[in-house]
Subunit: 277 residues, 3 copies
């Protein structure tokens, strides 16, 4: 149905204010036939890196014609541009602040346009009031216009090659030498409500690197034994590392919270090493 592309929200607005609700209302006003899907409003405030990771993990699960509004925007009111990206069939509307980094690192053939604010104003009737709520005044109206069928090219022009990137993914490989084994290193990217530490180290890379050979895992300086198959493979309370349901390496504790073993550290400060034998 024309006008019915679903609109997906990813923000750091929380649900403790009415700001996420205003995004929903603005999108519904402008694209009344579009289903609205809250992916998450729980990104840590201003944590663009975390939003980038969540967006990349989620992309394949979104409706194939989804228009995503991704607003984690500490630079609102400054000079940063807005972007429209086409990735894996979906369209993403987001600030140019690194939020697309993981999608760019993991998705082939992403096409990026830069918003033209005067074209946006003409097409959406958007009026920016104050300098502080581009989610309401720009990103949601743009997403709704695209969901209604307006071509991104009428709102934006080629972004050129200079889109902002963050240092993601976190993964690096050191090839083995006679003296030292092959090593894959990465960091945590997200701590979930169960205290699990999700990394962006992909299962495919680990399997390609080590094949059927075992590897041992070290998390910061703690030995976490071999890679496990399931949460049940560890003793209760034991730190264990496995491939999770996102096909990424994850640090967990059976019947416990892995993050509590690294108190005060955010995910990026938790380093995960996989060492061949």
């Amino acid at each position: 149905v024309p006008g019915a592309r679903p609109i997906v929200f990813l923000t750091d607005f929380g649900e403790g204010d009415f700001y996420a609700g205003i995004l929903r209302a603005v999108a519904a006003s402008s694209a009344p036939a579009s289903p609205l899907i809250d992916l998450s409003h729980a990104i840590d405030p201003h944590d663009v890196n975390q939003a980038s990771f969540v967006l990349a993990l989620s992309l394949e699960y979104l409706p194939p014609d989804a228009v995503v509004v991704a607003v984690v925007d500490p630079g609102v009111g400054g000079a940063r541009r807005g972007l429209i990206a086409g990735a894996a069939g979906r369209t993403i509307v987001a600030p140019d602040n690194g939020l697309l980094s993981d999608v760019l690192a993991t998705t082939p053939a992403v096409h990026i346009l830069a918003l033209d604010e005067s074209a946006v104003g003409r097409a959406t009737g958007a009026v920016i009031r104050g300098a502080t709520f581009h989610g309401r005044d720009v990103f949601a109206p743009v997403a709704a216009a695209i969901a209604r069928g307006i071509a991104p090219a009428t709102l934006a022009s080629e972004a050129g090659g200079v889109v902002m990137l963050r240092d993601v993914p976190s993964v690096s490989i050191e090839p083995g030498t006679p003296e030292s084994p092959t090593r894959i290193t990465g960091t945590g990217r997200l701590i979930d409500r169960f205290g699990n530490i999700l990394s962006d180290i992909p299962r495919s890379l680990v399997e390609r690197t080590f094949g059927a050979n075992p590897c041992r895992v070290v998390v910061n300086r703690t030995d976490a034994g071999p890679l496990r198959a399931t949460y049940g493979d560890g003793a209760p309370g034991q730190l264990l590392v496995l491939f999770n349901s996102w096909d990424r390496v994850e640090v967990a504790v059976r019947e416990g919270r892995a993050a509590d073993r690294f108190p005060g550290l955010d995910a990026r400060r938790i380093r995960i090493e996989l060492n061949g034998e």
Copy 2:
């Protein structure tokens, strides 16, 4: 409209992660015409008993053709089956871990099938990755398939009589003797954000048992006086017990939090006795 059965979510995922959002996205991808309704993602983590109670209280208020995805699943990755239950016109997709106990105790003619994972894979294209997110990989795709019109019997077969039950409802009756009055006993099942303690003792049972005769209530060892008609019937700060809007017995404090009178106890540890006179 075929394909438009609404999909209702009941989980312990919280809104602090993106996991509830992924369920919504998966359902929307597979059943794009279905309205999505979040009943609650705030079940206490792994508290199957609480989810069972909330599901039973809510059932009659759900759209009459709703498909419910109920995922509170501490045993994910283990041997527990998935179920499809038909109850009061709605269809419920849930793990076989006791989540249906209250519905079975309060709803006539519940019909239960056990998911056949290979049939599920064929019908939904579901792929289980890792051992940890059956909500995303099984329960939501199954619910979406049913919402689209696929018959449960193509995904599941007769469950037999051995569905897991929990010890719910919590209610028992001691008939009166010359020495002691008739007594109904139950426990709390849920503490809400106002600190009210909701039990599963039904108004109909109390009225049938005591009729027009008064009864006195004791909560753990505290005398809570007679059953009241409304919250306003107690003095401010006073523990009071009444029939709530779910037609169940509830413990409250006017302008206060009843749960704070029983510090450190979860709902099931709070015992409510109604004694005839």
Copy 3:
């Protein structure tokens, strides 16, 4: 499309219980074609004043044909009436407890009807069980009936002039004298998750009063300098006052939380003075 007016929710139910979900389910049961939009369930419990402010700020952003269910209702079970208000094209269903005060103060030609409970019962089949959940039993069914196309006048009758009002907006003006400058005074109305203090002092009033002349701001007894254009105009850590994206005066701290400068005070206890020079 008849039957497709969107339904918008504004409550103090939080997302930690299933009560907001029940409102959604009841609305979806009765108006299955209506999109459901959660504006906010995060109003502070029983804070009618805050809900009134949020509703007025949000009104113009809601779909032009929205039906709003606004339930912050500390007097549930008492004698207060229910209301149906027509304002700026939208329809609002709310208790008669002051929740409409800011809408009445800022929107022309609001038309208000008082719910007739027996008419509601006939039209919606609503049954009030217990004395405590009119959101579920009255307000959501009424909103859904209106969203389906039932005329408000079949559910309600003229409210007369005696609708409850709160002392909002908070704004007053003292004209200047030779001895003292012109002064606009207001209070905070809402503290958001970033610690910003939103007032209801409108930009238009300030500009009309002071024109191009500067004014200085005092927040409780703290000098906050002149009115600023953007958050970036203050030094980090400095209290600053500006027009926000709602065209209202707001108190902020660059890279900090303004509310933390006024510990223990709720928004209404924070007084904002704009003094001409």
